[in-house]
């Protein structure tokens, strides 16, 4: 009897250890997520960003990484960040990541999703994130832009893949508005009809046999034609480029970039 209890306890302990280890592996291996080579952030901003990034990285099993450089020689930020990530992935043994890279010299910013993030943060969602952070980037408010990159991407990644997370049909305020309007309409209708409903219709007293059209005219008069261009899908400020690809090391990713 006692032996059995001990065995159970032991099994339970082992189980906990495994769960614990499993939960930590993802984040424990990574101790740096912000690579501010261009020195755009101060100490406390970096520390704060590391905390937020770590928190959301753990939540999704996907690391949120930031890379800033200041190098006029770098023409293609996509290649540069690809090389950076190939090295980083090998070093940290982690393939799932969201990487925001920017070159302050060429004013390029590029957001990429690797591994599982390639689907959970697809091109469309990358564009939505860029739309939101671009005003802050243009203002030079990089700390806030990075912070928003983490929270917004993390938020979008909760949605089912392929769904537009900014779709109006998924907005709580719309649900609330429809619910209130519907309830108001139904109760208003009930109140209006509480004293009895009018059930006569235009046909109640209608005499089929003696109501008829005796003369009818439908004369074409003139026509007007108006033309307009098929609207182009507009992208936010600064030309967009990219749209995912494959790194030199063979890692495919979703992504998108802008000038800011």
């Amino acid at each position: 009897m006692r032996e059995l209890q001990v065995k159970w306890l032991l099994a339970l302990c082992v189980l906990f250890i495994f769960i614990g280890v499993d939960g930590v592996t993802v984040s424990a291996a990574v101790d740096q997520r912000v690579y501010d080579n261009a020195n755009l952030l101060n100490e406390s901003e970096i520390a704060e960003l590391e905390v937020v990034a770590a928190e959301h990285s753990e939540k999704h099993g996907t690391d949120f990484l930031f890379l800033t450089i200041s190098d006029e020689e770098v023409f293609d930020i996509q290649d540069y960040m690809g090389d950076f990530f190939d090295a980083w992935a090998v070093e940290n043994g982690q393939e799932n990541a969201v990487l925001l890279s920017m070159n302050i010299a060429t004013r390029d910013v590029y957001l990429a999703g690797f591994g599982t993030a390639e689907t959970t943060l697809d091109n469309q969602r990358v564009d939505l994130v860029l739309d939101r952070i671009l005003p802050e980037m243009q203002r030079g408010d990089y700390a806030d832009a990075f912070h928003e990159t983490v929270t917004t991407s993390s938020r979008y990644m909760e949605f089912r893949p392929g769904v537009n997370p900014e779709s109006i049909f998924l907005k709580t305020w719309l649900h609330l508005a429809i619910a209130l309007l519907l309830a108001g309409g139904v109760v208003g209708f009930m109140l209006y009809n509480s004293g009895g409903r009018v059930t006569t219709t235009p046909t109640t007293y209608f005499d089929d046999n003696n109501t008829r059209v005796t003369s009818k005219l439908d004369q074409f008069r003139n026509k007007t034609i108006s033309r307009r261009k098929v609207p182009k899908k507009s992208s936010g400020g600064g030309g967009g480029f990219g749209g995912g690809g494959v790194t030199g090391g063979g890692r495919s990713f979703s992504g998108g970039g802008r000038k800011f």
């Binding site: 509480s194 209608f206 074409f220 003139n222 034609i225």
Partner: protein
Amino acid sequence: MVIQYKCPNCGADMSFDSESGHLSCPSCGRQDDIETFPEDNILRKFDPGEAKEYHCENCGAIILTEAETTATHCSFCGAAVLLADRLTGDLAPAKVIPFTISKEEAVAAFRKWTKNGRLTPRGFTSGDRIKKMTGMYVPFWLYDIDGKADVAALATRVRSYTRGDTIYTETDFYDVRREMDLSYLKVPADASEKMDDELMDKLEPYNYQELKDFRMPYLSGYLAEKYDYDDEALFSRVESKIVPYIDSYIGSTISGYSTVSYTNKQIQANKKNVYYTLFPVWMVYYDFENKEHTFAMNGQTGKVVGKPPISLFKVAAWFTGIAASAFAVMKVISFAVGGVFW
């Protein structure tokens, strides 16, 4: 002149039975067809002091009436009496729809209606506070209306198509003209001053299949009144009632366009025939929280109308319930689609 229908068997006062459509005797149960009721048993009594007061043939008591009353009960012996001179000549109804709902059925139907009141206070829905129910023939004018309409409109047909990178929107304009003959049959308007017009309108429609040529015995046992307004006085009310019907018919004759805007609309409506008609109505007087509420029930179809008291609590509960469940449903759907609740 006072008219009473005496039972050929036992001499009791007979009254109209809504179930069989016959005259029926409350004491011996005899039923007589209205068309063939023996002339001998119709008691007609001419009062010399008529126009001032009528007397009951049974007990001699003065029958208390208002100036409009045409059928009532003797308030002493309860006999059903008709005041015939108020139902003859110009005042003779042309048609009548007899009661098909008896008092018991009316009470049951009214109870059921109060129980279904989703916004009425709990105490009201228990439905056992009926103070009085009165079966009453309400005077109506039914109008057969002949008319003509002549309308002109400017209508458009809009279509869009894309060639290359240009969207073309083509709007074709048409001159539309319609002339039509209009006919509406037996449109009712209540001719009693006492009755609320809106309430009476809501009691419609009646089933005209059971519209009968008027016979006095139909009124026996009920209250009845004569009209306060003649057919000329009420015609404008009927006109305003059918104008929306005519508009809807005109609309139905102009179809296939994106927009229609009328430039000229002339409607002419004339009355072709009028029928002075009595419609059966159960008036229900109901006590609730020290106030008397009046309801009316269509004596042929059982439809109930009237303003019931409203419980704010129930209104709020329905509102909250509907809003909350609609919100929950939408949240479940958005979770199923988007994978996220908030």
